[in-house]
């Protein structure tokens, strides 16, 4: 696996509140990793620790196999959850300024800023003050600040929050392009459908801990199998098989979650005893289903 970001044993708290508790996570160059979890799960604290905005109580954060330092972080790009830029400053000037803060020379920063703004469809507004932009365009300017110095690691907190569908598509394309470069990308989001479509791997956090991490398929294997059965003839069927749990029941049939050890043949026999079985098949749940199972476990 290519080198990249490696977080090990990360722990942090605020007074008596534990925010992150022994987190291990890695993001390789060219990889997009989505961090999901409910509010308060520890996502923002993790991302802030990666960016050096807060000093974690414990743990190590390594970049390319050595402790991450200030000079490494200059090659990181960051978009915080609560967006913030100088409202009275011009968009191009502002993006250039942040590029220079990340170590770029003035001319390079200016050239890169123009290019990023064009890519984010903000070229015609480059000379406007930030305050004159719509909320959505301010979000794009914020993303431009994170991208202007061509970061090796891109850290985005609630990356897609508040974006309209076209902006979501644009940002998705940008992140895919960045990963192709190849930048390592770690972002948090509550929009699980986007995370599912975009990410190579997903990390699920709950109460400061990492519940699970892996590709969607790997995560799917960690939760009960989903079996859909439709019994015809208008018969009301409820499975009475150990380890088979009802998830939902609608026109498409009855969806069951099968715990390890539950016998699908026993389910089939039960259904056939009730009426003609019109459909019997395993389904792969999406990230939303996987997440629901993981946090419920």
């Amino acid at each position: 696996m290519p080198q990249g970001l490696e977080i090990s044993g990360l722990a942090h708290g605020f007074g008596a509140t534990v925010a992150v508790d022994g987190l291990d996570l890695s993001v390789a160059a060219g990889e997009i990793v989505g961090l999901v979890g409910r509010n308060g799960a520890g996502k923002t604290t993790t991302l802030r620790a990666v960016m050096g905005i807060l000093e974690p109580r414990e743990g190590r954060i390594r970049w390319h196999d050595r402790e991450v330092g200030a000079s490494d972080r200059l090659r990181f790009g960051y978009m915080p959850e609560e967006r913030g830029l100088y409202p009275q400053m011009g968009v191009l000037e502002q993006v250039t300024y942040f590029g220079r803060l990340h170590g770029m020379e003035r001319r390079d920063a200016q050239r890169s800023a123009r290019s990023v703004l064009e890519r984010l469809e903000l070229g015609p507004r480059a000379e406007d003050k930030l305050v004159a932009l719509s909320h959505g365009n301010q979000q794009r300017a914020q993303l431009a600040v994170a991208l202007v110095h061509r970061p090796e690691l891109l850290v985005l907190d609630e990356a897609f929050a508040g974006l309209d569908p076209s902006a979501v598509m644009l940002l998705s394309d940008v992140l895919r392009d960045e990963a192709q470069r190849p930048a390592a990308i770690l972002f948090s989001s509550h929009q699980l459908d986007i995370v599912e479509r975009l990410c190579d791997r997903v990390a699920v956090m709950e109460a400061g801990r990492l519940l699970a991490t892996g590709t969607l398929e790997e995560l799917q294997r960690r939760v009960p199998s989903r079996l859909r059965v439709r019994v015809g003839g208008g018969a009301a069927w409820r499975p009475d098989v150990p380890g088979a749990r009802l998830v939902e029941d609608d026109a498409r049939g009855t969806l069951l979650a099968l715990e390890p050890g539950a016998d699908p043949q026993a389910v089939l026999r039960s259904a056939m005893a009730t009426g003609p079985v019109e459909h019997f098949g395993f389904e792969r749940g999406g990230l939303t289903d996987v997440y629901r199972e993981l946090v419920a476990a």
């Binding site: 605020f14 509140t17 925010a19 992150v20 604290t45 200059l74 100088y86 803060l101 914020q142």
Partner: protein
């Protein structure tokens, strides 16, 4: 990227932001005009004295014309004399403003008619000349020889032997300079130091700070901000000082004491020292607020200290040589305001000057280190405003009380 470059970038942005601000330029022009006026007005007042026009009514008064003219020349009183035939015409001219006074010596007692009042030095001049004329007349009638009369009426010369050197004369210009310097420095330091708190609070409350901190260390961000805003303040004051010096040169430079003229450039040093000290305090205060509206209360200790220093300036004016004035000027928070006032009033011992400057630099260094810690621990804190005591305790204070963690 080197720390110096990062600090420089932040400072450049702050400076550029202020140079684009219209209020900054308005205040620069107003301050420059004020200083130029203060340097010019005394000279203009001195340059255009209006002579006192005295009408001499009748031949008796007109006979005194040579004595009045020579006495006026001898004493430096600027008078202009006109002959008039009768009292009614003289009074009419006094009322019309053509004459300042009308002198009539035909009666038992000499009579001076004025519209409202007559300057004391002119009164003394007229009284002396008339008295001597009367005395000469009486002594001549008594057959006293003219040389004796001359001898009698010639004032004796008085020799004064001072046992100690006389105190330096305190001119009104020095008093004005001390007070104006105090107010000017108070305004400049408060405006620009509080500007630092406002800028920091804006970055904190707008969440720009979080993006900045991903690129630059908090201490460098703070120092850059202090330097950039300070450069704007120093530039504004330098323009005002230059305007004052140019104005003084244009009017010949004789009306304002030399000490006041040399004080002007030193204001830049006192501003720099005072601003730097209070700007670091202000940066810490700005990082502690939760809302922009709290900046004023968070920076109240700064305005209180500087206002107390200004009060001490009035003590400097009334008792420039007192021990408590000297002691006050050596207290670091007061030094930038009080020491220039002392310098305006007269010489200050070199050791006191050196001690004050070194002490101020030392205190500023210590304050800057402390402020950097408060700044770093407070800037990313959410929730309610961080108190001074909690901020100073820094990491040892339970952050949970003041922090609304977003995890």
């Amino acid at each position: 990227m080197s720390g110096l470059r990062a600090v420089g970038l932040v400072a450049q942005r702050e400076l550029a932001q202020r140079l684009r601000s219209r209020p900054t330029w308005v205040m620069t022009v107003v301050t420059a005009l004020l200083i130029a006026a203060l340097m010019t007005v005394p000279a203009l007042l001195r340059r255009s004295p209006t002579p006192t026009v005295i009408g001499l009514v009748g031949s008796a008064a007109q006979a005194l014309r040579p004595q009045l003219a020579s006495a006026a020349a001898a004493t430096g009183v600027d008078v202009q004399l006109r002959n008039l035939h009768d009292a009614a015409a003289a009074h009419a001219q006094v009322l019309a403003g053509g004459l300042d006074a009308a002198l009539d010596v035909t009666g038992e007692a000499p009579d001076v008619t004025v519209a409202r009042s007559l300057a004391p030095d002119v009164q003394d001049l007229v009284r002396t000349v008339v008295t001597r004329a009367r005395a000469t007349q009486l002594l001549s009638a008594a057959k006293v020889p003219p040389d004796v009369i001359r001898s009698l009426l010639t004032p004796v010369s008085l020799t004064v032997h001072a046992l100690e050197p006389p105190p330096p004369p305190v001119s009104a210009a020095r008093v004005v300079a001390a007070i104006v310097a105090g107010y000017l420095l108070l305004y400049a330091i408060v405006a620009y130091a509080i500007g630092v708190a406002t800028g920091v609070a804006q970055e904190k409350t707008s969440r720009t700070a979080e993006v900045l901190l991903a690129a630059i260390r908090p201490d460098r961000l703070m120092v850059g901000k202090v330097l950039g805003i300070g450069a704007a303040g120093l530039g504004q004051l330098a323009i005002a000082v230059a305007a004052g010096l140019v104005a003084n040169a244009l009017v010949g430079g004789s009306a304002v004491p030399h000490a006041v003229v040399t004080l002007l450039p030193s204001l830049l040093l006192w501003f720099l020292l005072g601003y730097t000290l209070f700007a670091f305090v202000s940066a810490a205060a700005g990082a502690m607020v939760a809302r922009q509206e709290e900046v004023q209360s968070a920076t109240a200790p700064i305005t209180v200290a500087l206002t107390a220093a200004l009060a001490l300036v009035f003590g400097v004016v009334h008792a420039p040589d007192s021990w408590w004035v000297a002691a006050g000027s050596l207290l670091a928070p007061f030094t930038p305001i009080v020491m220039p006032a002392r310098l305006a009033m007269g010489p200050v011992p070199a050791w006191q000057l050196a001690l004050a400057i070194l002490e101020l630099i030392g205190v500023t260094y210590a304050v800057a280190r402390l402020a950097a810690r408060v700044y770093a621990t407070s800037l990313m804190r959410g929730g309610a405003r961080v108190g001074w005591s909690a901020a100073l305790r820094g990491a040892s204070e339970s952050p949970a009380r003041n922090t609304r963690p977003r995890t």
